[in-house]
């Protein structure tokens, strides 16, 4: 899977979980917070994405991630490993 595809998965799950956000509006350089996510919403999005991508990234490693693009980078590290 390419990073672009990973970003598409994350975007779709953001759309499913947050009110009033559509895929086309989501800029990967932004944080989910910018789209109204609270910390519980973010855990939900990250967990659903990982489940769909069939990976498990420790939450402790996600603390420093501040936008969707770097979340995708982190996911890529774990893909195919």
């Amino acid at each position: 899977m390419t990073k672009t595809e990973v970003i598409e998965v994350i975007k779709r799950i953001i759309e499913e979980n947050l009110d009033d956000v559509s895929i086309d509006d989501i800029d990967p350089q932004k944080s989910m917070k910018d789209y109204g996510a609270n910390s519980l919403d973010m855990i939900e999005v990250v967990s659903c994405s990982m489940r769909e991508l069939n990976i498990k990234v420790p939450r402790a490693e996600l603390a420093e991630i501040h936008n969707i693009d770097s979340l995708a980078d982190k996911f890529m590290e774990y893909m195919g490993s």
Partner: protein
């Protein structure tokens, strides 16, 4: 997972991929069974063999040995759980009423001793009325769930206790978290909820950090935006304010707080929780706070002990004065050792170690072996870069115990003698 097993925490197993709901996630057992993870968990659920006083005994999970320890982990801030007058009052109530209340408060569980305790707590907190719960967590969950509905908003400090978040989740209200103690961030959230029914919830003393909320400013913002206010004084009641009424008294804003929450399990030395507010809202809550109307009323023996605990803690300030003297002494000592106590302004004192979870556990083991019971607080309870120990100061601490505590901390944490 095997190569980075220590990077995982309970936070990573919340979502369960097992086909059966009665099985944990497929890799949970593997993780739990790993020796390094077991070592971490061995600090939890250690048995106390005597009352949770400062000086007590535990059966140490490190080696199975019984050990006399200086206990800086229990929340027995004023030592009231073992105060002779409290024990006598609990015994008297036990003799009179028996062990249990045998019913939910609404139908048959309300005893005169519960009514008296609730009245005294309302008077103490200078509110019209009080609702008594069998647990502190239940009081938060029930009150928040009773106050808020789908379509409402709850704006909370990001460090707020889990019981308030759980209440919010149960209520169906939308939750917004503001940056810890940041008034800009709070205002930004209140801009978003403008015109909607909104509750702002903060703690009196933040339980992992020991710092205080900026209550006067928070209440100003609540007034400006027409939001209700809720202050969880679990760790501040009987400690803060000239009369021990909490941080609201400390800041001189008691009449501006909408709902004041307290627990009976920490400084009070018993178990249970309560919320104080106006008569109409307490009456309303009785209809909708499930932990109150669908759960048995508190044990009368505990309520009897608590009435006495309240009397002792408020008839003079001697226990509180002793506590603050001890806080100052310990903080001065820890300061001399150059330890990072974060922003603590209270009897809750973190010693922040950093990101290294393995080091935290090594220190914890070494201190326990030396006779100091200071529990590690690990991610996800605190941020992964700020793992810590957390001292709960007690009025019971003697000078000798504090000196010994500082000695052990110096040897283990400062000099690295493990």
């Amino acid at each position: 997972m095997s190569d980075n097993i220590l990077n995982f925490s309970l936070a990573d197993f919340f979502f369960n991929d097992s086909p059966s709901v009665l099985n944990p996630p497929s890799d949970f057992e593997e993780w739990m069974g790993h020796p390094a993870v077991q070592r971490g968990f061995s600090f939890y659920e250690q048995e106390l063999l005597e009352a949770p006083r400062v000086s007590t005994r535990i059966r140490s999970n490190l080696d199975g040995k019984e050990r006399r320890i200086i206990n800086l982990t229990s929340y027995n801030y004023l030592g009231l759980s073992t105060h002779p007058e409290v024990i006598q009052a609990a015994k008297d109530a036990l003799d009179k009423y028996g062990l249990g209340s045998s019913g939910a408060p609404l139908l048959s569980g309300t005893l005169d001793i519960h009514v008296e305790l609730a009245q005294k707590l309302a008077e103490f907190k200078k509110k019209e009325d009080c609702l008594l719960f069998s647990s502190g967590l239940g009081a938060n969950v029930g009150t928040i769930q009773g106050l808020l509905r789908k379509g409402d908003y709850m704006v909370v400090d990001e460090k707020i206790h889990k019981s308030i978040i759980d209440g919010g989740t149960l209520s169906g209200a939308k939750m917004l978290f503001f940056d810890h103690n940041s008034m800009d961030s709070l205002q930004m959230m209140l801009e978003k909820t403008k015109g909607k029914r909104t509750l702002v919830a903060v703690e009196g003393v933040y339980s992992m950090d020991g710092d205080l909320p900026r209550l006067p400013e928070i209440l100003d913002l609540c007034d400006e935006y027409g939001a209700g206010s809720y202050v969880d004084e679990a760790h501040s009641t009987l400690m803060f304010g000239a009369n021990g009424r909490g941080v609201a008294e400390h800041f001189g804003v008691e009449d501006r707080v909408g709902i004041s929450f307290g627990t009976l399990s920490k400084s009070f030395g018993g178990v249970g929780g309560f919320v104080c507010g106006s008569k109409p809202i307490i009456r309303y809550l009785k209809g909708y706070a499930s932990p109150w109307n669908f759960s048995c009323a508190p044990s009368p023996a505990v309520s009897g002990g608590l009435l006495k605990a309240l009397e002792i803690a408020t008839r003079d300030s001697s226990l509180r004065d002793k506590l603050w003297k001890n806080v100052t002494y310990l903080k001065n000592g820890l300061n001399r050792l150059g330890l990072d106590m974060g922003e603590s302004e209270s009897q809750v004192i973190p010693i922040i170690i950093g990101a290294d979870g393995a080091k935290l556990m090594r220190f914890a083991a070494a201190m326990q072996t030396r006779g100091l019971f200071l529990q590690p607080v690990d991610f996800p309870a605190v941020p992964a870069h700020a793992r810590r120990f957390r001292i709960s100061v007690s009025s019971q601490l003697t000078q000798a115990e504090m000196d010994e505590t500082l000695n052990i901390i110096e040897d283990v944490i400062v000099k690295g003698k493990e």
